[in-house]
Every structure is written in structure tokens, then in C-alpha cells.
């Protein structure tokens, strides 16, 4: 079980691997599409890697509700709980 801070830094690493964005730019209030410019293919790659890293399942129908990085952290935290 990871804390929300640990999830955030783990997610930032995944986003960095996929997009090259610096990890410190991946903040809870950032929108994946509007702020981080992540397209749908990259988003699905991030989801696959997050499922593997955090041992959770993020169904496709829930992915579209993950607008910000904070949404994803909260979702993963709850799914782990």
C-alpha cells in the first residue's frame, strides 16, 4: 500500500518515461490533456504501466474520468485500499 505522495511520484515516473516531461511537472492539479499534452495512445500506455506498477485495475470506462493527475492518484489510492 502506497501513500498518495508515493503514488504521485510513481505516476510522475511513468509519465516521464512515456512523454519525457520532467517528473516535477507532474503535479496533482495538472490536466493530462490540457496541461501535459498527453494524447490518448500515451494515456493508455500510462494506464497499462500504472496498473502494473500499483497492482490495480483501471477499466477503460473509468480512464475518461481521470482528468487530472490528482484524479488518477485518488483513483489508484482507493483501488488499492
Amino acid at each position: 500500500m502506497a501513500s498518495e505522495q508515493e503514488i504521485l511520484s510513481g505516476l510522475a515516473e511513468i509519465v516521464n518515461e512515456e512523454t519525457g516531461l520532467p517528473t516535477d511537472s507532474v503535479q496533482a492539479d495538472k490536466s493530462f490533456t490540457d496541461d501535459l499534452d498527453i494524447d490518448s495512445l500515451s494515456m493508455m500506455t500510462i494506464v497499462v504501466n500504472a496498473e502494473e506498477k500499483f497492482g490495480v485495475r483501471i477499466p477503460d470506462e473509468d480512464v475518461k474520468n481521470l482528468r487530472t493527475v490528482g484524479d488518477a492518484v485518488a483513483y489508484i489510492s482507493q483501488a488499492q485500499g
Binding site: E17, E18, T19, G20, L41, T45, V48, E51, E52, R57
Partner: protein, 416 residues
């Protein structure tokens, strides 16, 4: 060629090969007669008990050149293509060209096989949800040309001729046709391959196409030698920038060579074995000479396909002899696969670059490991050391590339 036809020139070259990470290092290694073959540094040769444990791996790993993100998002075949294309584009002086007049024609014989088979392993071991979304763009055969079209904003077309080991040469022929037909002014053209993976090795070995000289890799690729026993699998890419002469002159570009013409034929004989009398080779070479408006006696140098297989090398000799007749006696024939190994879909492109360099530098590279020339070979094979070509006058040369499936491609170049 008619007087009004658009002429096609080569203004840029790029390569990453078993001999070097760029054109210059590849050429210097070829002149020095160095072999790029070595034992494969991966655990899977033992794991699968492969009958062949060596290959000609890229001298500079793509991961040493590209950033980490590019390595993750591009199949190795795409990585090699991008590296070679960047070099070629810079070498051409980063042409200022309308995107609608710029095309990409980049071939591969096998495509994204590392991605395909790694994704299948993931599917079997971890299930469908773990298969990455970029799997298809990375495995598709048009992936390399797509990556280059995207990077250089080439919108006149992005194409991928697939003809096994003739693919790279066919890409150059297709690119030149696009310029002559007026579909583009500049074409980024070439071939790429990254198939040093246990499955292709097992498959080629099952055909008895690969040399099994595991104890002495550097001596394994020996085209035209009596002791040749198959080819050495290589990897890498070769990319050129083709340009209409008018466009190149208008921007003051340096011209490496002119692509005078190409000939293409199909054997329709056997899926893998060459037509033993060289009839298809003969037709491709004759058509190439016709397209170039040259006679056999105008050719100074041939970079042969010559892969080091027992049947193929002799069939090529016969085909060239049929097409060139007595003029063949005065032609310096080099088989550079003796050093690079066989880069499959990249071979025709890399060897076209070596042909262009031979004409430009007036020096035919050697064919190494020809200790005992096959008595059935009638051509004048350049052995051991590079051979100077005529010191003056315009030089013309020919590159051959043939592929499983019966594909024959011959491309004619002339020094600028």
C-alpha cells in the same frame, strides 16, 4: 532517358551499420577490410540452442544515440531508420522544401519483429491488458517510413516497398520514380532492418541460409569463396536524400552522385532459391542500364548482392555476365557483405551508399575472406585491398539487391 526527364541526384547519405554508427566510419571500416561479425552478446543463443551464435550487430547500439523515450516508442528497425535519416538530412544541408513536395520511401524486409514477438510474450505471460497501445505502430512494416514522414513532415507520400532483401534498393528505385513522375522534389529513401532475434535466426538456419562458422565469425561471410556456407545476419539502416537535380542546384546543394536508373524483375522460379542461370538478374541489370542510357562498357564498378550462399553468388555471376558480356572483365566487383554481413531490407540501401562512395572516392572496397575464388565465378572480384578506379572522367556503377520471393533490383549511379 529522354532529354526532358527530370534527373535525380543524391544530396545526402546516412547509415548505421555493423561497421560503424555513421557513413564515414562505415566507409573507413570497409576500406580497411574489417568484419562486423561477432558472437551475439545475449543469453538466448544458449537458451534456444541456436545452431548459429553470431551475427553482425550494429556497431553503435541505437540506445547510445537516441533518447530513452525514442527507444521506448520506436521498434529497433524504426530506431535505426531514424538515426540514418537524421544523418542523411544533415548531410544534405537540411533542405528547405515544401512538405507537400517531400516524400519518405523507407523499406524493411521483416518489419517490427522485436515488437511483435515481445508483445506476444507479454500477452501470453500477463494477459491482454498488459499489451501496450503502441504495439501496432511499432510492429507495422510501414512504421519506419511513418516515423520519418512524421519527423521531417514529409507529406508527398510515405511508402514501404517490401521485397525481402531487395527492399532497400527498391525503395531508392521507387523514390527516384516519384521524382521523375513529378510527385516529389525531395525523397528520403532507404531501408532498415533489426531482425537479430532468435526467431529469424532459427528460421533462416532452418533453410540452411546462414553460415555456421560459429568458431570464427569474422571469416564466416565469404562471398565468391569456395568455402562459403551461407550469409551472416546483419542489422542497421541506410538512408539517402534523393532530389531532383533542378531542386538541388537551385539551393546550391552538394551532389554526391546521380541516380541514373533502375531495373526490377521477378524470377517466378522458386520462393527462395535463385534462378540458377541468372535470367532474372540479367533482365534487372539490362533494364537498369537501359534506364540509365548506358552500355555495359560504361560501368566501372559493381557492388554485388553476393550474400555468401553457395547458390546465390554463382547465379549472380551468371546474370551479370549475361548482362555485361565481355565488358565485365574490366569491371571491379565488390561484395561488401563480406564485411557488413547481410542487412536484409537495409542491404540494398547501405550498399547503394557504398557504391556511391566508391564512385565519388574512385576506390572500390575490398571483398574479404576470398581465400580461394570459386572457379565458377568469372567476374573480376576485388579482393583483400581496395582497388583504385579510373582517375579521371565520370564513373558509373551498379548496385544489385535480390530477395527471397524472386525479386531482383539493380540501381545505376554515376559520380557527380
Amino acid at each position: 532517358m529522354t532529354a526532358t526527364a527530370r534527373r535525380v541526384v543524391v544530396t545526402g547519405m546516412g547509415a548505421t551499420t555493423p561497421l560503424g554508427g555513421d557513413v564515414r566510419s562505415t566507409w573507413e571500416a570497409a576500406l580497411a577490410g574489417r568484419s562486423g561479425a561477432r558472437p551475439i552478446s545475449a543469453p538466448w543463443t544458449d537458451e534456444f540452442e541456436l545452431p548459429v551464435t553470431f551475427a553482425a550487430q550494429a556497431a553503435v547500439p541505437a540506445a547510445d544515440v537516441l533518447d530513452r523515450r525514442e527507444v521506448k516508442r520506436l521498434d529497433p528497425s524504426q530506431q535505426f531508420a531514424v538515426i540514418a535519416a537524421r544523418e542523411a538530412w544533415a548531410d544534405a544541408g537540411t533542405p528547405d522544401v515544401d512538405p507537400l513536395r517531400l516524400a519518405s520511401v523507407v523499406a524493411t524486409g521483416i518489419g517490427g519483429i522485436w515488437t511483435l514477438l515481445t508483445a506476444y510474450d507479454t500477452l501470453r505471460e500477463k494477459g491482454a491488458r498488459r499489451v501496450l497501445p503502441l504495439t501496432v505502430p511499432m510492429l507495422m512494416g510501414n512504421g519506419p517510413t511513418s516515423a520519418i514522414s512524421l519527423e521531417f513532415t514529409a507529406r508527398a507520400g510515405a511508402h514501404t516497398p517490401v521485397s525481402a532483401c531487395a527492399s532497400g534498393a527498391e525503395a531508392l528505385a521507387y523514390g527516384a520514380d516519384m521524382i521523375r513522375a513529378g510527385r516529389a522534389d525531395v525523397v528520403i529513401a532507404g531501408g532498415t532492418e533489426a531482425a537479430i532475434h532468435p526467431l529469424p535466426i532459427a528460421s533462416f538456419a532452418a533453410m540452411h541460409a546462414l553460415s555456421r562458422r560459429n568458431e570464427d565469425p569474422a571469416r564466416a561471410s565469404r562471398p565468391f569463396d569456395t568455402q562459403r556456407d551461407g550469409f551472416v545476419l546483419g542489422e542497421g539502416a541506410g538512408i539517402v536524400v534523393l532530389e531532383s537535380e533542378e531542386h538541388a542546384r537551385a539551393r546550391g546543394a552538394r551532389i554526391h552522385a546521380e541516380l541514373l536508373g533502375a531495373g526490377l524483375s521477378a524470377d517466378a522460379h522458386h520462393v527462395a532459391a535463385p534462378e540458377p542461370e541468372g535470367a532474372g538478374v540479367n533482365r534487372a541489370v539490362r533494364d537498369a542500364l537501359h534506364a540509365a542510357d548506358l552500355a555495359a562498357g560504361d560501368i566501372a564498378h559493381v557492388n554485388a548482392h553476393a550474400t555468401s550462399t553457395p547458390a546465390g553468388d554463382v547465379a549472380e555471376d551468371k546474370g551479370l555476365r549475361l548482362a555485361l558480356g565481355g565488358a565485365a572483365d574490366g569491371i571491379a566487383v565488390s561484395a561488401t557483405k563480406s564485411m557488413t554481413g547481410h542487412l536484409l531490407g537495409a542491404a540494398g540501401a547501405v550498399e547503394s551508399i557504398l557504391t556511391i562512395l566508391a564512385l565519388r572516392e574512385r576506390l572500390a572496397p575490398p571483398t574479404i575472406n576470398v581465400d580461394d575464388l570459386d572457379p565458377d565465378v568469372t567476374l573480376d572480384v576485388v579482393r583483400k585491398d581496395p582497388r583504385p578506379l579510373a582517375a579521371t572522367g565520370r564513373l558509373a556503377g551498379l548496385n544489385n539487391a535480390f530477395g527471397f520471393g524472386g525479386h531482383n533490383v539493380s540501381v545505376v549511379f554515376a559520380s557527380a
